[in-house]
């Protein structure tokens, strides 16, 4: 009523020309009376557009876009399911522990043993404190799968609460009851009862009614198990516990939490309640939020989830360092994603989001990405490539490099005959595939070596090593040099252990071509074992030389032998172990040099590698302030007009009004006098317009400039650079730094 009245006030003000009633079928979205406009097309006109349409639209060179989109979707589906699998595996341990805890905590209630009675007397609520880490964004997924697991195995009564839904104890109980009733209905499948329940929930939400409800429900389900729903209910116990999950324990108001705990502890003998606290910081927070009198009502057990760094390592290991998926990230893209993870949020979900975006971008922007699929499929697709696509292949930089390295006849054939090109492309793709098959085992092998070195010259994590190898020739880098030097100093025991690991890696990898390598490594291993027997001989030699030294008493001879000894020490003869160690390191180096060549050197790498890190960075980690600043300071960046061209730090006086006003306001302190500002502004602007005007024209000019100034100032206010100030008449306050 009141709102409509105000709307009337607005509407009946000066009838502005742009105010056209948006309701009457017209499509305008300007109105002084409302701010929301709904547009509903006729149901027959409504088009069910598929996502694929947009994929192909807007691209002029839409080669195979349909196929590309399908490939993209399929690939992402595979990646997603793999992700879920990883997630489940990682969470399994934690969930198993939790389930055990829940089983134990309510088994006593089940049997109504004396122990439960004991606890009942002290009215302690069994509580699991789940420490999840700071990556809040990932928690949702964990809780989702947790409640699914619980519902599957323990109890249908799982309630998740978020702080923002529960500003007061009343809301909390309401939410709790609401969710419980719903899951009860899920078991029962009767629509009518749902309505009744919902209306009831609004009537009274108290712990007493909850316990009453629980009694009813358990009785009912008891009947049902005996009759028809044996299979579905048999998973659960006769009187399953009610699990209440506080997703973000830290954000709850202490009052609400305390009240809830105190109240429910009074009813713990009627309802088997179990609490789960989701904690992002540290378990200490429980004691900080709850006073002793309340926390003593809880029987807390601590659970720790996997750290996000480990999670990330697994994800990278399973998604990126594998030949399972044809799609690959280039060094820079990977760096951007990892940096966002490390420096901004520690969120694996966001990493995956970035990964998804790069998949989409790759398939959207690279027409040849149609070949980014499993090798067999890709070979088939090559045969059906159009002429345009062949031209696309020819224009790839990596392919051009390849062509230049060929003999001239072959060059001509590659550039003119499509069929020949297709044949060559097939072999090239095969090469690329085998490059990847070799790359990953060798990378892992090298990582085993480098991760045991002091100071980790090539990085502790395999992802760092991966980035280093992808980007440039790793063996030319300084870090690699120092790593090899350190490798030459490894102790025997370590070296043997590392070699054994490497053998394992190679045997588990699919590549057949590593049989030689494995043999060679095993040979090294046996030689190391044999060394032990030989060491005794060496000792004998040294002992004998010592003896010789003692025998000779002649001064001249003594001097001579001493000199000889010194000489031999300087050009120290290598022991057999050292020789062998050198051999091993040289062997590893040869592996690195032949297999860990940078991806950019591979022919046709553009087909499977996504390498426009810029787009990714712009879309995921944008800098809106910098964009705004650049636009205001240097409009030439956007408006390519010669009159706007200027050096760093200065601005042309023909620039847009807002830029001039902005530049002028930068010169001011905390407060800005509008009159001064206006004058300065008009000085600049009139200088551009020229002064050869008569007085009436000047008056009008003044008016227009005044209006332009008003616009510029109100725009700056909208952008948050200034705000009106009451400190002094006709002054505005600066809001950005520098105004001091």
């Amino acid at each position: 009523m009141r709102q409509s009245c105000r709307a009337l006030d607005w509407g009946q003000g000066v009838p502005l020309p742009r105010d056209s009633g948006a309701r009457g079928g017209s499509m305008s979205t300007c109105s002084v009376s409302k701010g929301c406009f709904v547009f509903k097309p006729n149901s027959k006109k409504r088009r069910i557009s598929s996502t694929g349409d947009y994929f192909s639209e807007g691209k002029n060179d839409s080669e195979d876009s349909g196929l590309r989109f399908a490939t993209c979707q399929l690939l992402w589906k595979q990646i997603n399911s793999e992700m879920e699998k990883i997630q489940d595996e990682l969470n399994k341990q934690l969930f198993d522990n939790l389930i055990n805890f829940l089983r134990q905590s309510h088994s006593e209630f089940q049997t109504e043993s004396t122990e439960w009675m004991c606890r009942m007397k002290s009215s302690e609520i069994p509580t699991a404190a789940l420490v999840l880490g700071v990556n809040v964004t990932d928690h949702d997924l964990t809780f989702k799968s947790l409640s699914e697991v619980l519902q599957d195995s323990i109890t249908p009564y799982v309630v998740s609460l978020q702080a923002k839904e529960c500003p007061g104890i009343k809301h909390l109980l309401q939410k709790l009851m609401g969710q419980l009733m719903n899951c009860y209905v899920d078991v029962d499948d009767s629509e009518e009862e749902e309505c009744v329940n919902i209306s009831q929930k609004k009537m009274r939400c108290s712990m007493a009614s909850l316990s009453q409800w629980y009694k009813d429900v358990t009785k009912k389900s008891g009947f049902e198990t005996s009759s028809k729903k044996r299979t579905s209910s048999s998973r659960h116990w006769q009187s399953p516990p009610i699990v209440v999950i506080f997703k973000d324990m830290e954000s709850f108001t202490t009052k609400v939490l305390q009240d809830f705990i105190v109240i429910s502890s009074q009813h713990i003998h009627e309802i088997p309640l179990v609490l789960i606290f989701g904690i992002a910081t540290s378990p200490m927070i429980i004691h900080r939020l709850l006073p002793h009198s309340v926390s003593s009502l809880l029987c807390i057990e601590l659970f720790q989830s996997l750290s996000c760094k480990e999670h990330m390592a697994t994800v990278i290991d399973k998604l990126l360092l594998t030949t399972q998926f044809p799609f690959k990230l280039s060094e820079k893209v990977l760096q951007v994603l990892i940096n966002i993870f490390l420096y901004h949020d520690f969120s694996v979900q966001n990493f995956i989001k970035g990964f998804q975006l790069s998949v989409v971008e790759h398939f959207y922007s690279q027409p040849l990405s149609v070949l980014c699929c499993q090798l067999q499929e890709a070979k088939k697709r090559i045969n059906s490539l159009s002429h345009n696509q062949c031209e696309n292949i020819r224009s790839l930089p990596s392919f051009r490099r390849y062509v230049e390295s060929q003999v001239s006849e072959k060059q001509i054939a590659l550039l003119t005959e499509d069929n020949f090109l297709k044949e060559v492309t097939q072999t090239l793709l095969e090469d690329l595939n085998s490059y990847h098959e070799n790359y990953f085992p060798v990378l892992r092998c090298l990582h085993v070596f480098t991760s045991s070195l002091p100071k980790y010259p090539l990085g502790k994590q395999i992802r760092e090593l991966h980035c280093a190898c992808l980007g440039k020739r790793v063996w030319e880098t300084e870090e690699y040099g120092s790593a090899v030097q350190l490798m030459r100093m490894l102790a025997k025991a370590e070296l043997v252990a590392i070699l054994q690991k490497c053998v394992e890696i190679f045997t588990s990898s699919s590549g057949k071509q590593f049989s030689n390598t494995i043999e060679k490594m095993e040979e090294f291993l046996t030689r190391f074992q044999n060394l032990e027997a030989e060491t005794n001989d060496i000792q004998d030699v040294s002992v004998s030389s010592q003896n010789e030294l003692q025998k000779k008493t002649d001064l001249y001879h003594l001097q001579k032998t001493l000199l000889e000894l010194k000489e031999s020490k300087r050009s120290k003869k290598l022991t057999k172990f050292e020789m062998l160690r050198f051999e091993v390191v040289d062997f590893i180096e040869s592996l690195v040099r032949s297999y860990l060549t940078p991806a950019e050197m591979q022919t046709l790498n553009e087909v499977v590698y996504f390498n426009t890190a810029n787009t990714l960075r712009e879309h995921l980690n944008a800098a809106p302030r910098i964009a705004l600043h650049t636009a205001l300071n240097n409009p030439y960046c956007y408006l390519k007009n010669q009159t706007l061209k200027s050096d760093v730090g200065c601005i042309s006086n023909t620039a847009p009004d807002i830029c001039i006003a902005y530049k002028l306001h930068l010169e001011c302190g905390r407060l800005i006098n509008l009159v001064d500002w206006l004058e300065a502004f008009s000085t600049v602007v009139t200088a551009v317009e020229g002064k050869d005007l008569d007085s009436t024209a000047t008056d009008q000019m003044d008016e227009i400039i005044h209006a332009r100034f008003i616009r510029a100032v109100s725009e700056l206010e909208l952008l948050g650079f200034i705000k009106p100030s009451k400190q002094k008449t006709d002054h505005v306050a600066r809001l950005t730094w520098g105004g001091c």
Binding site: L16, D140, A631, N653, G738
Partner: protein
């Protein structure tokens, strides 16, 4: 005795000149040529200080190195996209600056004006002499400010040596620690033997631990310096003295502009850079189908950059969304609320009849309905998601939850420089933003057209007309009551400490004018006024209720005149 006094005075004198002397001295030492021009000198010293800074920063190089790596990688596009050009470094944008006075603006303006069509270098440390041809209005201003400028220069100069001395001490300390560090390093290297690799593994910890303790003083120094900056900041803000001129718009005899004349005038102004703007827009428009694709893949899109993005979004809407259900929200609308957005969804999109107790309940329903029916699809276009009415935490939470639904596609625009601060990690992940820079340079016409956003010329015509309309619907007595209050308000307009009219006094006055006969009727009337935002009540320190009219005096005078005419 006498001699001693002389000595004393000498010492005092020396101290008095010290600022300049020290400056020259230091500048000489630095091997920088001293010029006679004082301004130039200041510039040189500045540069010199910068050099020293560079040196003293070396010991933090290790820390910085990591940062640089990060910046280098994240800023990989800096080279190839001009947009985040060379002045993209965060510190340069909004850093602390030396205090500035109002004269500077006029000066810069005249500088810009003197060279039409050319570019003027904008360097804060250069003060070129003003030629006689300075435009009239700024000349006066500039001349009167010269004295101030001078004092300002002095101020700058006098603060420098202190800082300089501080910085001078830094490098020497640093070099000490550096040599220590390298010595310990080389020692260890010499003693290194092939066998004790394990021992070597421990070494880095040791070596690293040693220098940090020695670095401490340098770090402390840095901390001191930053704290000094902080002090400066608060010093600058603590003084309530405002160093701007006292001129007001009223003295300027400018006719006040209302919205309509403003529009008319702006239409007369010839737009510039049409071709370039068009090109810019076309660039953005080529992204439309990509936006649609990404909206369908579960991302939300946020547009940022200078210039109104309304027209762009409108074009997007009319070209691609014509055949689907969509909701346009004008965030800049002064009385927009999340509730009205939710109402539009429930009432008009979902055809739901009924009321809700709280926005959360409403949201629950929306979520439920959209989850149940996957064929339901809604595009949500929000202009200015960062507007005053929507930027609150609760509103953003609800909008984020809407955006997280798979069949609601959100595309929004933001303009405020601090807009991204609205979102914490949780909200950002709900929104699932993809950022697109769409700098359009088009004027924010619609966005700033509402009366309350115009800060310069509040025409008050809208306020006045609504005043008249509301009062017309009231009884004559009620109008009389309001007039009484308005008159009292205007009588006290020159009193800055006027608290308002206390209820008791007002009641007395109304009784005397035979407008009310008991205080209950008066209270009922006041409630009516308050509902229409015609008055505001405030409790004074003594607990008495004071009544105020939150309308500016000009409007109120107009209103009373109009009322008098009608009578």
């Amino acid at each position: 005795m006498n001699q001693l006094e002389v000595k004393k005075s000498k010492v005092l004198e020396a101290k008095f000149v010290a600022d300049e002397d020290v400056l020259k001295h230091i500048a000489d030492n630095g091997g920088v040529k001293v010029r006679k021009d004082r301004a130039q000198l200041a510039l040189n010293v500045k540069k010199f200080v910068k050099k020293l800074e560079n040196i003293s920063d070396d010991d933090e190089a290790q820390e910085i190195l990591e940062e640089q790596n990060y910046v280098a990688i994240l800023g990989t596009c800096a080279e190839d996209s001009l947009r985040n050009g060379p002045n993209a470094g965060g510190g340069e944008i909004y850093s602390f600056q030396t205090p500035k006075r109002h004269g500077k603006m006029a000066e810069l303006a005249s500088e810009l004006a003197q060279t039409p069509g050319k570019n003027v270098t904008f360097d804060s440390s250069q003060y070129p002499e003003k030629p006689a041809s300075t435009p009239q209005n700024s000349k006066k201003c500039a001349a009167s400010n010269k004295a101030q400028l001078k004092s300002k220069r002095n101020e700058f100069v006098s603060t420098t040596p202190y800082r300089l001395r501080k910085r001078l001490t830094a490098p020497s300390m640093h070099s000490d620690s550096e040599s220590d560090y390298s010595a310990s390093c080389s020692e260890e290297e010499e003693h290194k033997e092939t066998r004790d690799v394990i021992l070597d593994q421990k070494a880095p910890n040791k070596t690293r631990a040693a220098p940090t303790s020695k670095k401490a003083p340098a770090k402390k120094l840095k901390e001191e310096m930053t704290s000094n900056l902080v002090e400066e900041y608060f010093e600058a803000h603590s003084s309530s003295k405002v160093l701007t001129s006292d001129r007001t718009l009223q003295k300027l005899q400018k006719r006040k502009l209302d919205q309509q004349t403003l529009l008319v005038l702006l239409n007369k102004a010839s737009p510039a850079f049409i071709a370039e703007l068009k090109e810019l827009n076309q660039q953005h428009e080529s992204l439309f189908s990509k936006w649609m694709l990404q909206l369908h893949l579960g991302f939300s899109i946020v547009l940022y950059g200078l210039g109104s993005k309304r027209d762009l979004l409108e074009k997007f809407r009319t070209s691609l969304l014509q055949d689907s259900v969509h909701l346009v929200v004008n965030g800049f609308f002064p009385s927009i609320t999340v509730r009205s957005i939710l109402n539009s969804i429930t009432e008009e999109v979902l055809d739901h009849v009924g009321t809700f107790r709280s926005p959360l309940d409403q949201l629950d329903l929306v979520v439920k309905r959209f989850n149940e029916d996957p064929s339901l699809e809604l595009y949500l276009l929000i202009h200015n998601l960062d507007s005053k009415m929507l930027r609150g935490d609760k509103s953003q939470q609800i909008l984020a939850q809407l955006a997280s639904l798979p069949n609601i596609h959100l595309i929004a625009s933001i303009d405020h420089i601090n807009a991204p601060l609205m979102w914490d990690q949780a909200k950002q992940s709900l929104y699932n933003w993809l950022w697109f820079e769409t700098t359009t340079f088009s004027p924010y016409l619609e966005e700033t057209s509402y009366e309350n956003s115009l800060l310069v010329q509040q025409s008050g015509s809208l306020a006045l007309s609504s005043l008249v309309h509301v009062l017309h619907s009231l009884t004559p007595n009620a109008r009389g009551i309001f007039r009484l209050l308005a008159q009292y308000h205007l009588e006290n307009k020159d009193n800055p400490s006027y608290p308002g009219l206390s209820f008791q006094d007002f009641y007395q006055q109304c009784r005397e004018a035979f407008l009310v006969n008991n205080d209950l009727t008066l209270r009922a009337q006041l409630t009516e006024f308050r509902d229409h935002k015609l008055i505001r009540t405030k409790r004074g320190t003594d607990g008495v209720e004071y009544l105020l009219i939150p309308v500016d005096n000009g409007t109120l005078t107009d209103f009373l005149e109009k009322e008098a005419e009608d009578m």
